[in-house]
């Protein structure tokens, strides 16, 4: 089955809707160990990405590039550069095609992880969104099923709870962050869930 630019546009619309629904829950999580705005960043970022691409005429890469720009310019924050770089990498990975096999969404997951790591220099184990993106990308690269990719992301997110943070705002809180999930890893699971649902369709 093919995944077209119009499918990609729909994916961003669903991501925007999902983040809007989860906004306050993500903010509450970020309030515990960060500054309480992660839900707002993700809602505004995905909405701007979706808005930016709706009337765009171009390839999958063009759509990802425009989404990156829309997300970044609407948000800034930490999430902005991280997801913008992830989307740019995803665009590069899928290339200037108008459609691709659905299974190539694996490449998207891997590329987003790569972009986030390129920008943020995080390694797994530092209590960031990378703790969800990295195991998901590893599973995707190894040919795992969509369900297993999502499960890997969820396990990675769960594993952030007992971690100390060594990057980002939470790193200054020492032991106080133990027991709380990293909000960026929670929203990452949601994004990965929407992508893997596409793959399984």
């Amino acid at each position: 089955m093919d995944f077209s630019t119009s499918d990609l546009k729909h994916l961003f619309v669903r991501l925007a809707a999902r983040m809007s629904t989860e906004r306050d829950a993500l903010c509450a999580l970020d309030g515990v160990i960060g500054d309480g705005d992660h839900g707002i960043a993700m809602e505004q970022g995905m909405k701007a990405a979706a808005d930016q691409i709706q009337s765009l005429d171009g390839s999958l890469q063009d759509v990802f590039n425009a989404a990156a720009k829309g997300f970044l310019n609407a948000v800034g924050a930490s999430s902005g550069p991280l997801y913008a770089t992830g989307f740019l990498r995803a665009g590069k990975a899928v290339g200037p095609r108008l459609a691709m096999p659905k299974d190539d969404l694996r490449l998207v997951i891997v590329a987003i992880r790569d972009g986030i790591q390129h920008r943020g220099k995080a390694e797994p184990g530092q209590k960031t969104m990378i703790d969800a993106w990295h195991p998901a990308a590893e599973a995707a690269a190894a040919g795992a099923t969509p369900t297993s990719i999502l499960a890997a992301a969820k396990d990675g997110m769960e594993a952030t709870k007992p971690m100390l943070a060594t990057l980002g705002r939470a790193s200054r809180l020492g032991e106080r962050v133990i027991g709380h999930a990293d909000p960026g890893s929670v929203s990452a699971v949601m994004i990965i869930e929407e992508i893997t649902l596409e793959m399984a369709h």
Binding site: R23, D24, C27, A28, G31, V32, I33, G34, D35, G36, D37, G39, I40, A41, Q44, L72, N73, A74, V75, G76, A77, S78, S79, G80, P81, L82, R119, G120, L167, G168, R169, A170, S171, R172, L173, G174, R176
Partner: protein, 334 residues
């Protein structure tokens, strides 16, 4: 849960509406390029041959950052969403609009998001052939034992001021950068929060703070402090903060300092001056001389109750820079 009480319209519109208001009030000193609504420039500061000082960060800290744009201090600001670093574009826009051909210095608090966005802005400027450098502020001594990991908080006012004065005196970019680092290295802040704050979109407290407790070492974004303890008297709070700062600063008797007693938003002047009285007593006991002082809301955290104390350890180089006149939208001196 009940929404916290705010005088706002749509939650997502607060920053842009605030900027409209600020530009309307301060049209004599501020302007913004028509294509760049989140880049605000000093009307009288930038000029040919002068290093452009561009500051920035999230909104919700007013008068930080935008209030310190003006002749003698910052040339421009990139304005982010509430508690969110601005994206690279407004930083680039501000830099280009204020560029005097002598280089651009970005200064902002040390937060992961700001570092990523301003680094992207530096890359973009490089492609335009404009030399840009960065000095991060790290004055919040409670935020980490490792200085390079510390946050920038209210001490920004003094640190930006020193760098802005150096730029206004037409010093070359190497000098302005050196002074900015020097000012940052000698500035020490610590704060306490007496209440949470809430974002305009959620209007819920970012964290719970039970009555009778305070957060010690709180950041300016509502990030929880390094520890929580019972609310103490003004004198006890001041003593704890000053014990920490004086130990870290380790200044010899006779050293001169600048003092900032800052409200995090909801704490009124009455309480700040009570804190100041104790600060002055403690500094006198320590044999330090207060050269100048600021008391008021200089770096806030939305509607948070609480206060921070900043001490800048002055020297012969910093004193004329701290005394240098400036004429900003929300901060004037000289």
């Amino acid at each position: 849960m009940a929404l916290t009480q705010k005088l706002i319209n749509e939650g997502n519109a607060t920053v842009d509406e605030m900027l409209d208001g600020i530009l309307a009030v301060h049209s004599d000193t501020l302007w913004r390029p028509s294509h760049a609504p989140r880049a605000v420039i000093a009307k009288h500061g930038p000029r040919s041959g002068k290093v452009a000082l561009i500051i920035g960060g999230g909104s919700g800290h007013e008068p930080t950052f935008i209030g310190f744009v003006g002749k003698g201090l910052a040339d421009g600001v990139a304005v982010g969403n509430v508690f969110a670093s601005p994206p690279p574009q407004p930083a680039v826009d501000a830099a280009l609009a204020a560029n005097g051909g002598a280089g651009v210095l970005f200064m902002y608090g040390n937060y992961a998001g700001d570092v990523m966005n301003f680094d992207m802005a530096m890359d973009m400027l490089e492609m335009e052939g404009v030399e840009a450098r960065t000095v991060l502020t790290t004055d919040d001594i409670a935020s980490s034992p490792d200085i390079s990991k510390r946050r920038g908080v209210a001490g920004n006012v003094f640190i930006f001021k020193a760098a802005g004065a150096a730029a206004d005196l037409m010093m070359p970019i190497d000098e302005v950068e050196r002074i900015a680092r020097h000012a940052n290295a000698r500035t020490y802040t610590m704060g306490v929060a007496l209440s949470s704050c809430s974002l305009p979109q959620t209007r819920q407290p970012s964290f719970d703070l039970p009555a009778g407790e305070m957060e010690i070492g709180m950041g300016i974004h509502g990030e929880p402090g390094v520890r929580r303890g019972p609310l103490r008297t003004a004198n006890e709070v001041t003593d704890e903060i000053l014990d920490t700062i004086l130990k870290e600063m380790n200044a010899p008797k006779g050293a001169r300092v600048a003092v900032l007693v800052n409200s995090l938003g909801a704490t009124p002047l009455m309480e700040l001056y009570i804190l100041y009285k104790r600060v002055a007593e403690r500094l006198a006991e320590a044999g330090l001389e207060i050269h100048s002082s600021l008391v008021g809301p200089y770096c806030t955290s939305l509607d948070m109750a609480g206060a921070s104390i900043t001490i800048m350890h002055l020297d012969d180089e910093l004193i004329p820079l701290i005394d240098h006149p400036c004429d900003c939208a929300m901060f004037r001196q000289g």
